[in-house]
Protein backbone atom coordinates (compact mmCIF):
# COMPACT_ATOMS: atom_id res chain seq x y z
CA UNK A 1 0.00 0.00 0.00
CA UNK A 2 1.46 3.38 -1.01
CA UNK A 3 1.57 6.26 1.44
CA UNK A 4 -1.09 8.00 -0.62
CA UNK A 5 -3.44 5.03 -0.41
CA UNK A 6 -2.67 4.68 3.29
CA UNK A 7 -3.51 8.34 3.86
CA UNK A 8 -6.75 7.94 1.97
CA UNK A 9 -7.68 4.94 4.06
CA UNK A 10 -6.90 6.85 7.24
CA UNK A 11 -9.08 9.74 6.07
CA UNK A 12 -11.94 7.37 5.25
CA UNK A 13 -11.68 5.62 8.58
CA UNK A 14 -11.45 8.92 10.43
CA UNK A 15 -14.62 10.16 8.74
CA UNK A 16 -16.38 6.86 9.36
CA UNK A 17 -15.34 7.08 13.03
CA UNK A 18 -13.43 3.81 13.02
CA UNK A 19 -9.99 5.29 13.67
CA UNK A 20 -8.88 4.71 17.29
CA UNK A 21 -5.99 4.87 19.72
CA UNK A 22 -2.51 5.91 18.59
CA UNK A 23 -3.54 5.95 14.94
CA UNK A 24 -6.23 8.52 15.72
CA UNK A 25 -3.77 10.63 17.76
CA UNK A 26 -1.21 10.58 14.95
CA UNK A 27 -3.87 11.44 12.38
CA UNK A 28 -5.17 14.36 14.45
CA UNK A 29 -1.62 15.66 14.72
CA UNK A 30 -1.30 15.37 10.93
CA UNK A 31 -4.57 17.22 10.48
CA UNK A 32 -3.35 20.09 12.62
CA UNK A 33 -0.03 20.40 10.84
CA UNK A 34 -0.95 19.74 7.19
CA UNK A 35 -3.57 21.98 5.50
CA UNK A 36 -3.70 19.69 2.44
CA UNK A 37 -4.69 16.70 4.57
CA UNK A 38 -7.25 18.91 6.28
CA UNK A 39 -8.67 19.90 2.92
CA UNK A 40 -8.80 16.31 1.72
CA UNK A 41 -10.43 15.12 4.92
CA UNK A 42 -13.03 17.84 4.70
CA UNK A 43 -13.75 16.98 1.06
CA UNK A 44 -14.03 13.28 1.87
CA UNK A 45 -16.45 14.04 4.67
CA UNK A 46 -18.51 16.26 2.44
CA UNK A 47 -18.52 13.69 -0.37
CA UNK A 48 -19.77 11.00 1.96
CA UNK A 49 -22.47 13.33 3.24
CA UNK A 50 -23.39 14.13 -0.33
CA UNK A 51 -23.51 10.47 -1.34
CA UNK A 52 -25.59 9.68 1.73
CA UNK A 53 -28.20 12.27 0.81
CA UNK A 54 -30.20 9.96 -1.46
CA UNK A 55 -33.15 12.31 -1.78
CA UNK A 56 -30.92 15.13 -2.97
CA UNK A 57 -29.25 12.78 -5.47
CA UNK A 58 -32.66 11.72 -6.75
CA UNK A 59 -33.66 15.36 -7.13
CA UNK A 60 -30.43 16.25 -8.96
CA UNK A 61 -30.95 13.24 -11.20
CA UNK A 62 -34.50 14.37 -12.00
CA UNK A 63 -33.28 17.91 -12.78
CA UNK A 64 -30.60 16.45 -15.01
CA UNK A 65 -33.09 14.26 -16.86
CA UNK A 66 -35.42 17.19 -17.46
CA UNK A 67 -32.53 19.37 -18.64
CA UNK A 68 -31.26 16.68 -21.04
CA UNK A 69 -34.75 16.08 -22.40
CA UNK A 70 -35.22 19.80 -23.00
CA UNK A 71 -31.83 20.06 -24.71
CA UNK A 72 -32.70 17.10 -26.92
CA UNK A 73 -36.04 18.64 -27.81
CA UNK A 74 -34.51 22.01 -28.52
CA UNK A 75 -31.89 20.34 -30.77
CA UNK A 76 -34.72 18.55 -32.57
CA UNK A 77 -36.55 21.84 -32.96
CA UNK A 78 -33.48 23.45 -34.50
CA UNK A 79 -33.13 20.51 -36.87
CA UNK A 80 -36.79 20.81 -37.79
CA UNK A 81 -36.47 24.54 -38.47
CA UNK A 82 -33.35 23.90 -40.55
CA UNK A 83 -35.14 21.17 -42.53
CA UNK A 84 -38.13 23.43 -43.21
CA UNK A 85 -35.81 26.22 -44.33
CA UNK A 86 -33.93 23.85 -46.64
CA UNK A 87 -37.24 22.70 -48.14
CA UNK A 88 -38.30 26.32 -48.67
CA UNK A 89 -35.00 27.21 -50.32
CA UNK A 90 -35.16 24.10 -52.52
CA UNK A 91 -38.74 24.82 -53.58
CA UNK A 92 -37.82 28.47 -54.18
CA UNK A 93 -34.81 27.51 -56.32
CA UNK A 94 -36.91 25.04 -58.28
CA UNK A 95 -39.62 27.67 -58.84
CA UNK A 96 -37.10 30.30 -59.96
CA UNK A 97 -35.52 27.77 -62.30
CA UNK A 98 -38.91 26.82 -63.75
CA UNK A 99 -39.93 30.46 -64.07
CA UNK A 100 -36.73 31.48 -65.80
CA UNK A 101 -36.93 28.50 -68.17
CA UNK A 102 -40.51 29.36 -69.04
CA UNK A 103 -39.58 32.96 -69.68
CA UNK A 104 -36.64 31.93 -71.81
CA UNK A 105 -38.87 29.66 -73.85
CA UNK A 106 -41.46 32.38 -74.22
CA UNK A 107 -38.98 34.96 -75.37
CA UNK A 108 -36.42 33.47 -77.75
CA UNK A 109 -33.90 36.20 -78.54
CA UNK A 110 -32.39 34.35 -81.43
CA UNK A 111 -34.41 34.25 -84.60
CA UNK A 112 -35.88 30.97 -85.80
CA UNK A 113 -34.95 28.34 -83.27
CA UNK A 114 -36.33 25.60 -85.43
CA UNK A 115 -39.84 26.82 -84.87
CA UNK A 116 -42.09 27.50 -87.83
CA UNK A 117 -42.85 31.19 -87.86
CA UNK A 118 -44.89 32.96 -90.51
CA UNK A 119 -42.66 34.73 -92.99
CA UNK A 120 -43.30 38.04 -94.69
CA UNK A 121 -46.63 38.16 -96.38
CA UNK A 122 -48.33 40.69 -98.51
CA UNK A 123 -50.87 42.95 -96.81
CA UNK A 124 -53.88 40.86 -97.80
CA UNK A 125 -52.21 37.67 -96.60
CA UNK A 126 -51.40 39.16 -93.18
CA UNK A 127 -55.07 39.10 -92.29
CA UNK A 128 -55.39 35.34 -92.59
CA UNK A 129 -52.27 34.72 -90.50
CA UNK A 130 -53.49 36.76 -87.57
CA UNK A 131 -57.05 35.55 -87.73
CA UNK A 132 -55.89 31.92 -87.34
CA UNK A 133 -53.37 32.57 -84.61
CA UNK A 134 -54.40 31.14 -81.24
CA UNK A 135 -52.05 31.54 -78.34
CA UNK A 136 -53.07 31.37 -74.64
CA UNK A 137 -52.61 35.09 -74.06
CA UNK A 138 -54.29 36.02 -77.30
CA UNK A 139 -57.95 36.92 -77.17
CA UNK A 140 -60.04 34.57 -79.21
CA UNK A 141 -58.06 31.43 -78.52
CA UNK A 142 -59.83 28.26 -77.36
CA UNK A 143 -58.41 28.67 -73.92
CA UNK A 144 -59.80 32.13 -73.55
CA UNK A 145 -63.26 31.49 -74.82
CA UNK A 146 -64.11 30.15 -71.38
CA UNK A 147 -62.98 33.30 -69.65
CA UNK A 148 -65.21 36.30 -69.04
CA UNK A 149 -64.62 39.13 -71.55
CA UNK A 150 -63.30 41.66 -69.00
CA UNK A 151 -60.78 39.12 -67.82
CA UNK A 152 -59.77 38.44 -71.39
CA UNK A 153 -59.05 42.11 -71.88
CA UNK A 154 -57.02 42.36 -68.72
CA UNK A 155 -55.03 39.24 -69.64
CA UNK A 156 -54.43 40.49 -73.18
CA UNK A 157 -53.19 43.86 -71.90
CA UNK A 158 -50.96 42.53 -69.12
CA UNK A 159 -47.39 43.58 -69.91
CA UNK A 160 -44.60 41.01 -70.05
CA UNK A 161 -42.09 42.39 -67.52
CA UNK A 162 -39.05 41.13 -69.37
CA UNK A 163 -39.97 42.82 -72.64
CA UNK A 164 -41.55 45.81 -70.98
CA UNK A 165 -38.20 46.73 -69.47
CA UNK A 166 -36.56 46.63 -72.87
CA UNK A 167 -39.08 48.85 -74.64
CA UNK A 168 -37.15 51.83 -76.05
CA UNK A 169 -33.93 50.65 -74.35
CA UNK A 170 -32.23 48.19 -76.70
CA UNK A 171 -30.17 50.09 -79.26
CA UNK A 172 -27.28 47.81 -80.06
CA UNK A 173 -27.00 48.49 -83.78
CA UNK A 174 -25.62 51.61 -85.46
CA UNK A 175 -26.57 50.34 -88.85
CA UNK A 176 -29.85 52.21 -88.99
CA UNK A 177 -32.04 54.69 -87.17
CA UNK A 178 -35.73 54.10 -86.64
CA UNK A 179 -37.90 57.06 -87.58
CA UNK A 180 -41.36 55.54 -87.07
CA UNK A 181 -43.33 54.33 -85.12
CA UNK A 182 -42.74 55.59 -81.53
CA UNK A 183 -41.60 52.91 -79.08
CA UNK A 184 -44.94 52.91 -77.36
CA UNK A 185 -47.92 53.20 -79.64
CA UNK A 186 -51.63 52.94 -78.96
CA UNK A 187 -53.87 52.25 -81.96
CA UNK A 188 -57.44 51.33 -82.76
CA UNK A 189 -58.11 47.88 -84.15
CA UNK A 190 -57.61 47.92 -87.90
CA UNK A 191 -55.17 50.88 -87.99
CA UNK A 192 -52.03 50.54 -90.08
CA UNK A 193 -48.67 50.88 -88.38
CA UNK A 194 -45.88 52.26 -90.52
CA UNK A 195 -42.28 51.35 -89.81
CA UNK A 196 -39.76 53.83 -91.33
CA UNK A 197 -36.01 53.80 -90.91
CA UNK A 198 -32.85 55.40 -92.20
CA UNK A 199 -30.04 53.06 -93.14
CA UNK A 200 -26.48 54.16 -92.28
CA UNK A 201 -24.85 50.90 -93.40
CA UNK A 202 -25.86 47.94 -95.52
CA UNK A 203 -27.65 45.45 -93.30
CA UNK A 204 -30.31 42.77 -93.53
CA UNK A 205 -33.37 44.02 -91.65
CA UNK A 206 -36.16 42.05 -90.06
CA UNK A 207 -39.11 42.76 -87.77
CA UNK A 208 -40.66 40.37 -85.27
CA UNK A 209 -44.09 40.73 -83.71
CA UNK A 210 -44.81 39.09 -80.37
CA UNK A 211 -47.84 38.85 -78.14
CA UNK A 212 -47.88 39.85 -74.47
CA UNK A 213 -46.71 36.38 -73.46
CA UNK A 214 -43.61 36.67 -75.61
CA UNK A 215 -44.88 34.23 -78.25
CA UNK A 216 -43.54 35.15 -81.67
CA UNK A 217 -46.55 35.70 -83.90
CA UNK A 218 -44.99 36.90 -87.03
CA UNK A 219 -41.61 37.70 -88.62
CA UNK A 220 -40.67 39.77 -91.68
CA UNK A 221 -37.21 39.03 -92.97
CA UNK A 222 -34.99 40.66 -95.58
CA UNK A 223 -36.80 43.95 -95.61
CA UNK A 224 -36.00 46.19 -98.54
CA UNK A 225 -36.55 49.92 -98.93
CA UNK A 226 -36.98 52.32 -96.05
CA UNK A 227 -40.49 51.55 -94.84
CA UNK A 228 -43.04 48.83 -94.21
CA UNK A 229 -46.77 49.05 -93.53
CA UNK A 230 -48.24 46.67 -91.02
CA UNK A 231 -51.98 46.20 -91.26
CA UNK A 232 -53.71 45.36 -88.00
CA UNK A 233 -57.25 44.75 -89.23
CA UNK A 234 -57.21 41.17 -87.94
CA UNK A 235 -55.37 41.90 -84.72
CA UNK A 236 -57.41 41.38 -81.58
CA UNK A 237 -57.46 43.85 -78.73
CA UNK A 238 -54.30 43.41 -76.69
CA UNK A 239 -50.69 44.24 -76.16
CA UNK A 240 -48.06 43.39 -78.78
CA UNK A 241 -44.32 43.84 -78.85
CA UNK A 242 -42.12 44.34 -81.88
CA UNK A 243 -38.44 43.86 -82.33
CA UNK A 244 -36.42 45.47 -85.12
CA UNK A 245 -33.22 43.58 -86.03
CA UNK A 246 -30.29 44.47 -88.28
CA UNK A 247 -28.07 41.45 -89.14
CA UNK A 248 -29.55 39.62 -86.15
CA UNK A 249 -28.63 42.48 -83.79
CA UNK A 250 -31.53 44.05 -81.97
CA UNK A 251 -31.91 47.67 -82.98
CA UNK A 252 -34.83 48.41 -80.77
CA UNK A 253 -37.90 46.97 -79.09
CA UNK A 254 -41.27 48.66 -78.93
CA UNK A 255 -44.88 47.94 -78.10
CA UNK A 256 -48.24 48.44 -79.75
CA UNK A 257 -51.44 48.48 -77.73
CA UNK A 258 -54.46 47.65 -79.83
CA UNK A 259 -57.52 48.96 -78.04
CA UNK A 260 -60.75 50.70 -78.99
CA UNK A 261 -60.21 54.41 -78.33
CA UNK A 262 -62.73 57.20 -78.20
CA UNK A 263 -62.32 59.33 -81.26
Amino acid sequence: MTSDEHLHELISRYNEGTLEGDELERFLELLRSDPDVRLETELNKELIEFLNDRDLLAFLKAVDEVRLKRERNSRLNYLLIAAVMIIFVAVGCFWIYQYSMNRFNRFPMAINQGRETPRYLEDDQQESVFSNWTSPGYPGSKWQKEVVSSEILSIALTPLPYLEGLVGEAMRSTKLSLLEPPFSLRINPGDTVTFRWLRTETATLSIEIMDNLGNRLWIVEKLTGDKMNLKTSQWKTGLYYWKLLADDDIVCIGKITVIEQKR
Binding site: S12, F50, D55, L56, F59, L60, A62, V63, V66, R67
Partner: protein
Protein backbone atom coordinates in the same frame (compact mmCIF):
# COMPACT_ATOMS: atom_id res chain seq x y z
CA UNK B 1 -48.07 23.13 -20.59
CA UNK B 2 -49.75 22.68 -17.21
CA UNK B 3 -49.81 25.61 -14.83
CA UNK B 4 -48.97 24.89 -11.21
CA UNK B 5 -49.88 26.79 -8.09
CA UNK B 6 -47.07 27.66 -5.67
CA UNK B 7 -48.07 24.90 -3.25
CA UNK B 8 -48.19 22.35 -6.08
CA UNK B 9 -44.72 23.43 -7.17
CA UNK B 10 -43.38 23.04 -3.63
CA UNK B 11 -44.91 19.57 -3.36
CA UNK B 12 -43.58 18.68 -6.81
CA UNK B 13 -40.08 19.78 -5.86
CA UNK B 14 -40.20 17.69 -2.71
CA UNK B 15 -41.15 14.67 -4.84
CA UNK B 16 -38.66 15.46 -7.67
CA UNK B 17 -41.61 15.65 -10.04
CA UNK B 18 -40.43 15.91 -13.66
CA UNK B 19 -43.46 17.92 -14.76
CA UNK B 20 -42.90 20.55 -12.08
CA UNK B 21 -39.18 20.77 -12.81
CA UNK B 22 -39.96 21.15 -16.50
CA UNK B 23 -42.44 23.90 -15.65
CA UNK B 24 -39.78 25.71 -13.62
CA UNK B 25 -37.36 25.42 -16.53
CA UNK B 26 -39.93 26.90 -18.86
CA UNK B 27 -41.36 29.55 -16.56
CA UNK B 28 -38.61 30.57 -14.14
CA UNK B 29 -35.38 30.08 -16.08
CA UNK B 30 -35.92 33.01 -18.49
CA UNK B 31 -36.08 35.37 -15.48
CA UNK B 32 -32.81 34.05 -14.09
CA UNK B 33 -31.16 34.15 -17.50
CA UNK B 34 -32.22 37.76 -18.06
CA UNK B 35 -31.02 38.77 -14.61
CA UNK B 36 -27.62 37.04 -14.81
CA UNK B 37 -26.95 38.27 -18.34
CA UNK B 38 -27.81 41.79 -17.27
CA UNK B 39 -25.30 41.45 -14.44
CA UNK B 40 -22.19 40.50 -16.40
CA UNK B 41 -22.89 36.76 -16.60
CA UNK B 42 -23.18 34.34 -19.49
CA UNK B 43 -25.99 31.95 -20.40
CA UNK B 44 -23.89 29.13 -18.91
CA UNK B 45 -23.50 31.07 -15.65
CA UNK B 46 -27.25 31.67 -15.65
CA UNK B 47 -28.02 27.99 -16.14
CA UNK B 48 -25.61 27.05 -13.33
CA UNK B 49 -27.24 29.61 -11.04
CA UNK B 50 -30.68 28.30 -12.02
CA UNK B 51 -29.73 24.72 -11.16
CA UNK B 52 -28.18 25.81 -7.87
CA UNK B 53 -31.33 27.80 -7.19
CA UNK B 54 -33.41 24.66 -7.77
CA UNK B 55 -31.25 22.74 -5.34
CA UNK B 56 -31.47 25.53 -2.77
CA UNK B 57 -35.25 25.56 -3.17
CA UNK B 58 -35.37 21.78 -2.83
CA UNK B 59 -33.25 21.80 0.34
CA UNK B 60 -35.35 24.59 1.77
CA UNK B 61 -38.61 22.77 1.01
CA UNK B 62 -37.29 19.51 2.34
CA UNK B 63 -35.48 20.62 5.48
CA UNK B 64 -37.78 23.36 6.73
CA UNK B 65 -41.31 24.47 6.29
CA UNK B 66 -41.26 27.07 3.53
CA UNK B 67 -43.53 29.93 4.58
CA UNK B 68 -43.87 32.28 1.66
CA UNK B 69 -44.55 35.96 2.17
CA UNK B 70 -44.45 36.58 -1.57
CA UNK B 71 -45.01 34.64 -4.78
CA UNK B 72 -42.78 31.59 -5.19
CA UNK B 73 -41.49 33.04 -8.42
CA UNK B 74 -40.25 36.17 -6.59
CA UNK B 75 -38.78 34.02 -3.85
CA UNK B 76 -36.93 31.86 -6.37
CA UNK B 77 -35.75 34.94 -8.22
CA UNK B 78 -34.30 36.42 -5.04
CA UNK B 79 -32.62 33.08 -4.21
CA UNK B 80 -30.96 33.04 -7.62
CA UNK B 81 -30.07 36.72 -7.36
CA UNK B 82 -28.33 36.12 -4.04
CA UNK B 83 -26.49 33.12 -5.43
CA UNK B 84 -25.26 35.13 -8.40
CA UNK B 85 -24.18 38.13 -6.35
CA UNK B 86 -22.34 35.90 -3.89
CA UNK B 87 -20.72 34.07 -6.77
CA UNK B 88 -19.66 37.33 -8.34
CA UNK B 89 -18.26 38.49 -5.05
CA UNK B 90 -16.33 35.24 -4.64
CA UNK B 91 -14.94 35.45 -8.16
CA UNK B 92 -13.99 39.07 -7.70
CA UNK B 93 -12.30 38.24 -4.44
CA UNK B 94 -10.25 35.52 -6.06
CA UNK B 95 -9.27 37.84 -8.90
CA UNK B 96 -8.19 40.63 -6.60
CA UNK B 97 -6.42 38.38 -4.10
CA UNK B 98 -4.98 35.50 -6.06
CA UNK B 99 -2.72 34.52 -3.15
CA UNK B 100 -5.61 33.87 -0.81
CA UNK B 101 -4.83 30.22 -0.51
CA UNK B 102 -1.39 30.90 0.84
CA UNK B 103 -2.13 33.47 3.48
CA UNK B 104 -5.47 34.74 4.42
CA UNK B 105 -7.49 35.43 7.48
CA UNK B 106 -11.21 35.55 8.01
CA UNK B 107 -10.99 39.24 8.88
CA UNK B 108 -10.14 40.02 5.30
CA UNK B 109 -13.57 38.95 4.15
CA UNK B 110 -16.77 40.62 4.88
CA UNK B 111 -19.96 38.70 4.49
CA UNK B 112 -18.04 35.44 4.65
CA UNK B 113 -20.83 33.56 6.38
CA UNK B 114 -23.25 34.40 3.65
CA UNK B 115 -20.88 32.87 1.12
CA UNK B 116 -21.03 29.45 2.69
CA UNK B 117 -24.39 28.47 1.25
CA UNK B 118 -23.46 29.54 -2.23
CA UNK B 119 -20.16 27.67 -1.96
CA UNK B 120 -21.96 24.58 -0.76
CA UNK B 121 -24.32 24.70 -3.73
CA UNK B 122 -21.40 25.21 -6.11
CA UNK B 123 -19.60 22.26 -4.53
CA UNK B 124 -22.68 20.07 -4.81
CA UNK B 125 -22.97 20.94 -8.48
CA UNK B 126 -19.34 19.91 -8.86
CA UNK B 127 -19.88 16.66 -6.94
CA UNK B 128 -22.88 15.77 -9.09
CA UNK B 129 -20.97 16.62 -12.27
CA UNK B 130 -18.16 14.23 -11.34
CA UNK B 131 -20.41 11.56 -9.91
CA UNK B 132 -21.97 11.22 -13.37
CA UNK B 133 -18.55 10.83 -14.96
CA UNK B 134 -17.52 7.93 -12.70
CA UNK B 135 -17.32 4.50 -14.35
CA UNK B 136 -20.58 2.53 -14.26
CA UNK B 137 -19.37 -0.02 -11.71
CA UNK B 138 -18.07 2.76 -9.44
CA UNK B 139 -21.47 4.41 -9.53
CA UNK B 140 -23.05 1.05 -8.72
CA UNK B 141 -20.72 0.42 -5.79
CA UNK B 142 -21.26 3.90 -4.41
CA UNK B 143 -25.03 3.60 -4.85
CA UNK B 144 -24.97 0.34 -2.90
CA UNK B 145 -22.79 1.97 -0.31
CA UNK B 146 -25.34 4.78 -0.02
CA UNK B 147 -28.08 2.15 0.35
CA UNK B 148 -25.98 0.65 3.15
CA UNK B 149 -25.77 -2.70 1.38
CA UNK B 150 -23.27 -4.90 3.30
CA UNK B 151 -19.92 -5.38 1.57
CA UNK B 152 -20.53 -9.11 1.39
CA UNK B 153 -23.68 -8.58 -0.65
CA UNK B 154 -21.96 -5.98 -2.84
CA UNK B 155 -19.27 -8.55 -3.62
CA UNK B 156 -21.91 -11.15 -4.49
CA UNK B 157 -23.93 -8.81 -6.68
CA UNK B 158 -20.98 -7.40 -8.60
CA UNK B 159 -19.12 -10.72 -8.84
CA UNK B 160 -16.13 -9.71 -6.70
CA UNK B 161 -13.93 -12.37 -5.16
CA UNK B 162 -14.63 -11.36 -1.59
CA UNK B 163 -15.85 -8.85 0.94
CA UNK B 164 -12.41 -7.28 1.31
CA UNK B 165 -12.10 -6.69 -2.39
CA UNK B 166 -15.49 -4.94 -2.40
CA UNK B 167 -14.18 -2.65 0.37
CA UNK B 168 -11.03 -1.93 -1.63
CA UNK B 169 -13.06 -1.17 -4.74
CA UNK B 170 -15.38 1.15 -2.83
CA UNK B 171 -12.39 2.93 -1.36
CA UNK B 172 -10.83 3.23 -4.85
CA UNK B 173 -14.02 4.66 -6.23
CA UNK B 174 -14.32 7.29 -3.51
CA UNK B 175 -10.67 8.12 -4.06
CA UNK B 176 -11.15 8.46 -7.81
CA UNK B 177 -14.22 10.62 -7.23
CA UNK B 178 -12.30 12.78 -4.79
CA UNK B 179 -9.27 13.14 -7.05
CA UNK B 180 -11.33 14.20 -10.04
CA UNK B 181 -13.02 16.89 -7.99
CA UNK B 182 -9.78 18.17 -6.54
CA UNK B 183 -8.31 18.52 -10.03
CA UNK B 184 -11.12 20.80 -11.14
CA UNK B 185 -10.11 24.49 -10.97
CA UNK B 186 -13.67 25.37 -9.98
CA UNK B 187 -13.18 23.33 -6.82
CA UNK B 188 -10.31 25.57 -5.75
CA UNK B 189 -12.59 28.52 -6.36
CA UNK B 190 -15.31 27.24 -4.09
CA UNK B 191 -13.40 25.76 -1.18
CA UNK B 192 -13.37 27.46 2.15
CA UNK B 193 -9.93 29.04 2.21
CA UNK B 194 -10.09 29.75 5.91
CA UNK B 195 -9.76 26.14 6.92
Amino acid sequence: MALYSDSKIIDGIRESNHGVINFLYKDYRPLVRAFVRKNSGTIQDADDVFQDGLEALYLRCRDQELILTCALRSYFYSVCRNIWFQRLERKQRLTYYPDLMVNDSSEKYHGRDSLTKEQKLARHALFWKYFKTLPENCQQILSMYIDKVPCKKVAEKLGFTGENYAKVRKSMCVKLFQKRIMKDPEYLNCIDHDQ
